[in-house]
Symmetry: C2
C-alpha cells in the first residue's frame, strides 16, 4: 500500500508542470503543446515508426483481448479504406448492465481520490498514448481513412492536446472549490465558529459515443473531463471504427491498474451496425453524462429526448466560405481548395459552400469574375489531385461507401437541376494502396435558388460554389445558414475592413467561429487546442464547446458539511 | 453620450472593490457581506424604518405602475397572512410574446456591453435594493408571512448576498475567457502569426420563476447570473407573492435606464392562479434559460420535459435530523425546535423528520429515552410558542390556507394511524396582528412503518419524531430519504466520532449538505452566502447548486474569430 501511495504522489509531481502550463495556455490562448505533431524520425528516432506499424499489424485477424466484465461474445466489422479488406479483429461485447455496474463499483474509490491524482492519471494516460502514437496512426488510417500524417498529428497529439485542455479546465473548476474553510460570525451576540468541509461529488457514469471518421478528437476531451472529475467512463465506439478506441481503453485501463485503481473505471461498449447499443446506455439511470459525436440525426434525437442528464453534443453543420474580395486570388483559392481536399472533406470543419458575388470580386490584380474565382479553386484542387503523393498526404481515403453515395447523389442531382459541374469527382491513384477507396472533390456551380441542395450537410468531398447577389447578401446567407443549419467553422475573405466589421458580430451571434483572410501553410480549418475554442454550442452543429469551463464545471457537484470548530476532528 | 460613458466607467470603479471582495469570499468561503442584516436603528438610523413602512403602505389599494410593454390588463390577488385582507394592489399583465420580443430587442446592446459593466450594474441594483430594504421587509411580511426581522435579513441582505455570490462566479467564468490572443506557430516551415478574438455570446432570454414563500432568495442569484452574462430576464412571480418582485423589477429597470440601457432587459410576467402563464414562456423558443423555484410537481414536470434549454431547479425535499447521541440534550433539542419553528417550517431547509434510536441516546447526563428526547423537543417548541413576542419573531405567519390544510391532514392521518400526537398545532396570539394566520408546529411520534407518511414533503409546521432501530439505521434511512426524496439540508447530532466518520461520506454522496452538532445562537438551518453552497443538485430537491461555477458557466458561450496578424485592424 505504501508503494502505491508513493507512486501516486510521484505521479502528481511528475505531471504538475504540464497541468500548470496547460492552465496557463488556456488562459492566454497561445500556441502550446507538450507534444510534437510531426511523425518525423528526427523527433522520434528510427525505431518507433516501424515498431508502431508492426504493433498495428500484430492486431489484425485476431481477438483484441480486453479483460472486460460481462463479455457475451466477440464481434468486429472493420474494413480498411486503404485496401478494402476486413481488419479481421474481433472485440469483446459486454452486457450493458454488467458494464454499468462495473463502472459504478469503482466509483466510490475514484470519487474519493485526490482530484490532482485523477488529473495526473489522465496525463499519464495521455503520455502513454503519445508513446503509442505510431501504432495509433496506423489504426486510425485503417479504420477512418485519414492519411498517415494526418492520422499521426490530428488523431494523435492534436487530439490529446484537447484532452489535456479539458483537464486544465477541470483543474480550474475543481481548484475553485476550497476543500475546507473556517467561518466566524456573531449571531445574537454569540461568537459562532464553524469548520466547513466541501466534497466534490461526481455525477455518475459517463458515456462517450464516438464518431467513425475522427474518433479520438472529441473522445479525449470528453473522457478526461469525466474521469478527472470523478466519473467512470464507458466508451462506445462506432462499430466500423473500434480499434483506435480499443487501444485507448486498453492503455487507460493499464494506467488505472498500475496505480491501484479499478480498471473498470473505463470500459469499451462494442456493438454492431445491425444491433446498435447506445440507446441502452443512454437510458440507463446510472449513466448521468453523455458525450456524443456523430450524426445530426442521432445527436438531434438525443438533444430532443434526454432530460435529467448532462448531454454534450457535436454533430455537424454546413461550413461556408464567403469570398467578398481578396488580395491574391490564387492564394485564397489554394487555401479553400486545400481545406476542401483535406481528408476528402470528411471533417467537421471542412467547407461545403463557397459564396462568390456573381458580378465578380476585387483582387490585387483587378476584378475577377465569378467564373474566374470558381476556376481558380478548381485549378488548385486539380493541382493536388494530379500529384498522387500530395493527394495521398492530403486527401487520404474515403471512410465508407456511404460517402461515395453522397458524392454520386450530389452529382446526379446537379445534372437533374441543370447545374454546371465545375469539376467531377474521381478516384485518384494512391501510391501505396492501389485498392484505396479515394475520391477527389466534386465541385458544383450553384445559385441561391439551389439553397435547399447546398444547405443540406453532405458528408463527403462535395463543394458548391454559389453565385451570390453581392458580398453582403453572401454573408447574410452564410450567417443565416450557420444559425439554422449549424456550423463548426466559417471562412471569410475580404480586403474591405468595413465589410469585415459589418459582419464579424453577426457571425459571432450565429455561433460561427470565423477565420478571416487566412492563406499560406496553415490549414484554414486547423483547430489548435488551448488556443481555438472548438464548437460554440450556439447553433445546431452542437450544444457544447469542447472545451471551456462550461464543458467541465457541471460534471461534479459540491456537498458540504459543517460543525462547530471547537469540537471538530 | 459622453456623460453616459463617464457614468458607466465610474460605476465600474465604484463597485470594483465589492466584486473583488466577493470573489475572494467565494474562493475562501469565509464569512463576509457588504451589508448588515439587522434592521437595528443603530445601523440604519431612525428615519429609514418608518419611511420603509410608509413606502409599503403607499403601495396598497392601487396600481403598481410599471411601464412594461404589451400590457393587456391589471390583476392582483395578494392577501396578507398578517391581517387576512387583500393588499389591493394590481399589477400589469403583459402579452408573453410582446414581453419576450421586448427582451430580445435589448439583447444585442446588452451582449456587447463590457461584462464588468454588466456586473457593476447588477451590484448597483443590489445596492439600491438594500437601500429599499425596509420597504421590502414589509412587502415580504405581507405576501409571504415571514416575521419582520426574518423578512429584513433573510429576504434582504442574505438574499442579495446570494445574488452577489452569483456575480462573483460570473466574473470568474467570464474573466477566464481572455478577449484577445496572439498565436505563433510554424506550419511546414512557415511562421504563422494570428490574432484571435473571443466574444462572449449570451444564450437567450432568461426566465426566473419565483416561489411564494421566499421569493427573493433564489431570484437574486438567478437574475444576476443571467443578466451579468448578457441575457435579458423575465421574472415570473408567484401570483400570490408579486409585490417583492415588482419592487425588484422596478428598481432594476430604473438602474438600467439611468445608465442608458433598455429597461426591458428585465420585466415582470404577472399571472393569476386561475390562468398560469409560466408554460407559455417556458415553451417560447427565445427563452433559453429557465430558473425555477417552487413545487416539486411543476419543477419535476420541467425536469422531465425541457430539452435544448438550460434549466436550473430548486424544488423541495425532506430534511432530516439524526440524533444519535448528544452532549447536552436541552441544547440540541432547542436547536432542532428553533429550526422547526423558524417561519413555521415553511423553509426549504426546515427539518421534517427527527430520527431518535428507540432505545434512547447517550447524553452527558446519562441515557435519555426516546420519549425523553421527543419531550425535550416539544418542551423547547412550547417555550417559544408560549412567548407571543418570541413566537412572532420566529414563526411569523402561515402564508396560505394550503399550509393549514397540510397540518390538518397530517393530524387527521396520525389519528387514523393511531400515532401519538406529541404536540398539537395551534394558533398563537400575534402581539401586533390579532388576525394573523398562525400555527405552532404539530409534532407526531412515528415508527419506521409510517415511512410513507413522513417521507412525503409536508410544506408547513409538521415534525415527525421517528423511533429508529439504532443510530446507524437512522442514518441509513435519512441518507436513503435524501437520495430518493431529495433534501436541501440534513442535521446530525452525535458525540461518537466513529459514527460521524462512518456517515459523512454517505451524506455527501446522497447530495445532502450536513450540519453536525450545531447548537446555540446560530439557526442550524441558516445558509450563509459565499460560505455555504446551497443545494447540491444531486438529489430530487433540485438539479443545480445556487451558486457555484456550474450555475453560471453555461449562461454564455464563446465565439471566436482569427486572422493573420500583419493585416488585423
Amino acid at each position: 500500500m505504501q508503494a502505491i501511495s508513493d507512486n501516486r504522489a510521484a505521479l502528481i509531481e511528475k505531471h504538475r508542470p504540464v497541468i500548470a502550463q496547460a492552465i496557463e495556455a488556456v488562459e492566454t490562448r497561445v500556441s502550446w503543446s507538450p507534444y510534437k505533431d510531426s511523425p518525423s524520425t528526427r523527433i522520434h528516432g528510427t525505431e518507433k515508426p516501424p515498431a508502431g506499424k508492426a504493433a498495428f499489424e500484430a492486431r489484425l485477424n485476431r481477438r483484441f483481448e480486453l479483460d472486460l466484465p460481462g463479455i457475451t461474445g466477440w464481434v468486429g466489422e472493420e474494413t480498411s479504406p486503404y485496401n478494402l479488406e476486413p481488419l479481421g479483429i474481433s472485440y469483446p461485447v459486454s452486457d450493458p448492465d454488467v458494464l454499468v455496474e462495473a463502472a459504478r463499483a469503482g466509483m466510490p474509490e475514484w470519487a474519493k481520490a485526490n482530484p490532482e491524482l485523477r488529473i495526473a492519471l489522465c496525463l499519464e494516460m495521455a503520455e502513454r498514448l503519445y508513446d503509442r502514437n505510431f501504432e495509433m496512426a496506423h489504426a486510425i488510417m485503417h479504420v477512418a481513412g485519414q492519411s498517415y500524417t494526418q492520422a499521426f498529428s490530428g488523431s494523435g497529439p492534436n487530439a490529446l492536446d484537447r484532452g489535456i485542455e479539458a483537464l486544465a479546465y477541470a483543474a480550474i473548476a475543481m481548484r475553485n472549490v476550497v476543500p475546507t474553510a473556517t467561518y466566524h460570525r456573531k449571531f445574537a451576540g454569540d461568537d459562532v465558529a464553524l469548520e466547513k468541509f466541501y466534497t466534490l461529488v461526481p455525477r455518475g457514469v459517463g458515456l462517450v459515443i464516438c464518431c467513425a471518421s475522427f474518433p479520438t478528437w472529441n473522445a479525449y476531451p470528453a473522457m478526461f473531463a469525466s474521469l478527472s472529475t470523478g466519473n467512470p467512463v464507458i466508451v462506445k465506439p462506432h462499430p466500423i471504427a473500434v480499434l483506435p478506441m480499443a487501444i485507448v481503453v486498453e492503455t487507460c485501463r493499464t494506467v488505472l491498474s498500475e496505480f491501484g485503481f479499478d480498471p473498470n473505471l473505463i470500459t469499451l461498449a462494442v456493438d454492431t451496425l445491425a444491433e446498435p447499443v447506445a440507446g441502452k446506455y443512454v437510458e440507463h439511470p446510472a449513466v448521468q453524462i453523455i458525450d456524443f459525436t456523430g450524426s445530426p440525426r442521432y445527436g438531434g434525437h438525443l438533444e430532443r429526448t434526454v432530460t435529467g442528464k448532462l448531454l454534450y453534443t457535436e454533430t455537424a453543420g454546413v461550413n461556408s466560405v464567403v469570398m467578398e474580395s481578396v488580395d491574391d486570388l490564387a492564394e485564397a483559392a489554394r487555401a479553400v481548395a486545400r481545406a476542401t481536399c483535406l481528408f476528402s472533406a470528411q471533417m467537421c470543419t471542412s467547407p461545403q459552400v463557397v459564396y462568390v458575388p456573381k458580378g465578380g470580386i476585387a483582387t490585387s490584380g483587378g476584378t475577377a469574375g465569378f467564373d474566374d474565382v470558381a476556376q481558380a479553386i478548381v485549378d488548385e484542387i486539380d493541382a493536388i489531385a494530379a500529384n498522387p503523393k500530395m493527394a495521398a498526404g492530403i486527401m487520404g481515403a474515403i471512410q465508407g461507401d456511404v460517402s461515395l453515395d453522397v458524392v454520386a447523389a450530389a452529382s446526379a442531382e446537379a445534372e437533374r437541376e441543370g447545374m454546371t459541374i465545375l469539376r467531377p469527382s474521381q478516384p485518384y491513384e494512391h501510391p501505396d494502396f492501389p485498392n484505396a477507396r479515394t475520391r477527389t472533390p466534386l465541385v458544383l456551380a450553384a445559385t441561391p435558388e439551389h439553397v435547399e441542395m447546398y444547405a443540406e450537410e453532405r458528408f463527403g468531398p462535395v463543394l458548391f460554389v454559389v453565385a451570390a447577389e453581392d458580398g453582403d447578401t453572401a454573408a447574410a446567407e452564410a450567417t443565416e445558414l450557420a444559425r439554422t443549419r449549424g456550423t463548426i467553422s466559417c471562412y471569410l475573405y475580404s480586403t474591405d475592413e468595413d465589410f469585415v466589421d459589418r459582419w464579424v458580430e453577426v457571425y459571432a451571434q450565429a455561433g460561427a467561429n470565423l477565420t478571416i483572410n487566412l492563406t499560406g501553410a496553415m490549414w484554414i480549418n486547423f483547430a489548435a487546442a488551448y488556443s481555438d475554442y472548438h464548437v460554440t454550442g450556439l447553433n445546431p452543429a452542437g450544444n457544447a464547446c469542447l472545451t471551456d469551463l462550461s464543458f467541465v464545471a457541471s460534471r461534479f457537484r459540491i456537498a458540504q458539511r459543517r460543525r462547530p470548530i471547537h469540537e471538530a476532528a
